[in-house]
């Protein structure tokens, strides 16, 4: 028997998920694989390209069901991106699927030139992103990907928070005529959205209204912001929670509205504090002349603490407890 994985939630946070009525879904990556399978059934032009990553990309069943729609290139990420671009240039709806740590570092030049500059309708899927690979260490973390990709023209960047956002992001990408990057983690995610929610790339989703503190969070950190808002409500504070699934284009309007209407803003991301969502929000607010107490919660610029994703989140305050404390400090 292996040791139990460290829990992402303290008993108090677990209790809060129940209080908020959150139901556990599956890993966003599983949702991606299932959605791609469904789309590929209807569209034979959908091709998945993998770099010995079909297992980690949950594409085993996809490859078995649609062997002609999966291209395996071996452990060669530069080639993966080039091939994904070439397929897209010749009419295929190609999805290049590879761990985000390798995909967005080793083959960054292919992303910049072959996909974005050449403007082909390809989608890149960064799997096991952020610190999903936790204890495997820094080689396997992608805490730079949003920063480097934001600095490249002509790329939509989506970081889904739950199964709904994941499913919708893949559907969006399957019909996109422009380059798209989507970033997935591997942990099971709580479902955060009401059934009638609509998804649009570039338009963030407000999960909870409130004017005391605005949490602007992205990806697998959103649930923690939601729990923090629940905890702060118990202290009489009404906090807004925004799921900023699109890092680019950024929903400038919703950020400015939050900055103008709330007393403080906390951004949350599974990314280094440099160059990610937080700095994007800060630039948006500052340039519009909106000055509010502001804090970027993410992974600081240091050698990341060893541990599983849950350990790393807890260590850096990406938790109900950490985020509510960060919010309270801003209000003091």
């Amino acid at each position: 028997m292996s040791a139990p994985a460290p829990s992402m939630f303290t008993p108090a946070a677990k209790a809060m998920t129940e209080k908020l009525g959150l139901k556990m879904g599956r890993a966003n990556l599983d949702e991606f694989a299932a959605t791609l399978m469904e789309l590929a059934k209807a569209n034979p032009n959908i091709i998945a390209v993998t770099s010995d990553s079909r297992g980690s990309g949950k594409l085993g069943p996809f490859g078995q069901t649609f062997p002609k729609q999966l291209v395996e290139v071996g452990i060669a990420e530069q080639n993966l991106v080039g091939i994904t671009a070439g397929l897209a240039a010749c009419g295929k709806k190609s999805f290049g699927v590879s761990p985000s740590c390798f995909l967005t570092a080793r083959s960054l030049e292919q992303i910049k030139n072959d996909i974005c500059y050449s403007d082909v309708p390809a989608t890149l899927i960064g799997i096991s992103s952020g610190v999903s690979y936790g204890a495997l260490g820094t080689t396997h973390h992608s805490l730079h990907d949003l920063a480097v990709l934001r600095a490249i023209n002509n790329l939509t960047i989506i970081v889904p928070a739950d199964n709904f956002e994941s499913r919708e992001a893949i559907r969006f990408a399957a019909h996109a005529t422009k380059p798209v990057f989507i970033r997935f983690g591997k942990a099971a995610m709580f479902n955060l959205h009401k059934p009638d929610t609509t998804f649009e790339a570039g338009k963030a989703i407000t999960l909870r209204e409130g004017n005391d503190v605005a949490f602007i969070a992205t990806g697998e950190t959103v649930v923690h912001a939601l729990l923090a808002a629940g905890k702060l409500a118990e202290q009489g504070l009404n906090c807004r929670v925004i799921s900023m699934h699109s890092i680019k284009p950024l929903d400038v309007e919703i950020i400015l509205k939050a900055g103008r209407e709330c007393r403080a803003v906390v951004t949350v991301e599974e990314h280094m504090v440099h160059g990610g969502l937080g700095e994007a929000c800060a630039a948006t607010l500052l340039q519009a002349g909106v000055f509010k107490p502001f804090r970027i919660v993410g992974i600081p610029d240091e050698e990341t603490v060893p541990g599983a994703q849950a350990d790393i989140f807890r260590h850096y305050g990406i938790s109900m407890e950490g985020l509510s404390e960060a919010a309270l400090k801003l209000l003091k």
């Binding site: 291209v71 530069q78 080639n79 080039g82 397929l87 240039a89 010749c90 295929k92 292919q110 072959d114």
Partner: protein, 282 residues
């Protein structure tokens, strides 16, 4: 195929004229890659006038052959050939590298006839694997070609791609190597030797042909059809960097040397003389 089949003699005359245009374009731009442009010009001439089923009016055809110039820096030669084939007016060559001109110093899809944006080395072959795979998946008849510099082969991505092409039996893919043996710092074998090239490509599962890259008949023969069923084709075209201009031939500094007015004049005079000689020979 091109609309009219040109004889070797007609191609030779065209090459001289295209060399002049390439040099004038580089002079006008005040920047460019002279040596490699002149070394690959005969290859481009054969590709666009004898091999590729590409024409301006049918460029949107899904079954057109695909050509991706991996050695994107030899863009002036490519632009000269595309203008000659009617993809855009020859006058556009005067705008290369100018403010707000789409004719930047490496190929972009803003220019009619360009398939993919290239310029960073080691990108063309992986892209072409994707294109060739798309053709195979669709059972489409088109062929895919790329042109690589020999110095460019130091980029590891080429070998990732070479391995995949062999693995996928991409006999609809042809990689041409402009083997002029020089790169910016000197002889490729001195900078970081990649010889023997033919053995390397064969070891990766390719059929290899070695030709004189300035011989129209040899180039035509090697490029007209895949060398071997079930294998990608590598055509190692032995060329001379700076071909056609005596003082530029086989001199590394002309990799990205831009001719002065006097040098341009001298080069054009040499090419005029070559043209006159060719016309006489007819």
């Amino acid at each position: 195929m091109a609309t009219a089949v040109l004889s070797d003699h007609e191609l030779a005359l065209k090459s001289v004229r295209l060399r002049k245009q390439t040099l004038e374009a580089i002079y006008g731009a005040g920047a460019g890659h002279t040596g490699g442009g002149l070394s690959c010009l005969d290859i481009l001439n054969v590709l666009y006038n004898r091999i590729l089923n590409i024409a301006p009016e049918t460029f949107g055809n899904a079954n057109r052959d695909r050509y991706v110039q991996s050695k994107g820096h030899s863009v002036e030669a490519l632009y000269a050939v595309l203008a000659d084939r009617g993809f855009f007016p020859e006058a556009d060559l005067k705008t290369i590298c100018h403010y707000q001109s789409h004719y930047v110093g490496h190929p972009t899809r803003h220019i009619p006839g360009i398939e993919m944006n290239t310029g960073a080395l080691g990108h063309g072959l992986p892209i072409c694997i994707g294109m060739a795979l798309a053709a195979k998946i669709d059972s489409a008849p088109y062929r895919v070609f790329t042109l690589l510099g020999d110095g460019e082969l130091a980029e590891g991505s080429n070998w990732e791609a070479a391995m995949a092409a062999g693995h996928y039996d991409l006999d609809n893919l042809t990689a041409i190597i402009d083997h002029n043996t020089l790169q910016i710092s000197g002889r490729t074998r001195d900078v970081c030797s990649n010889e023997p090239l033919d053995e390397k490509w064969r070891a990766f599962g390719w059929a290899v042909k070695i030709v004189n890259g300035h011989d129209f008949a040899e180039l035509t023969d090697a490029l007209s059809k895949p060398a071997e069923a079930g294998k990608p084709t590598c055509v190692i075209a032995n060329t001379v960097k700076g071909k056609g201009v005596s003082f530029m031939e086989d001199v590394a500094k002309w990799h990205h040397g831009v001719p002065s007015e006097a040098e341009l004049k001298q080069a054009l005079a040499e090419l005029d003389a070559a043209e006159a000689k060719l016309k006489e020979a007819k």
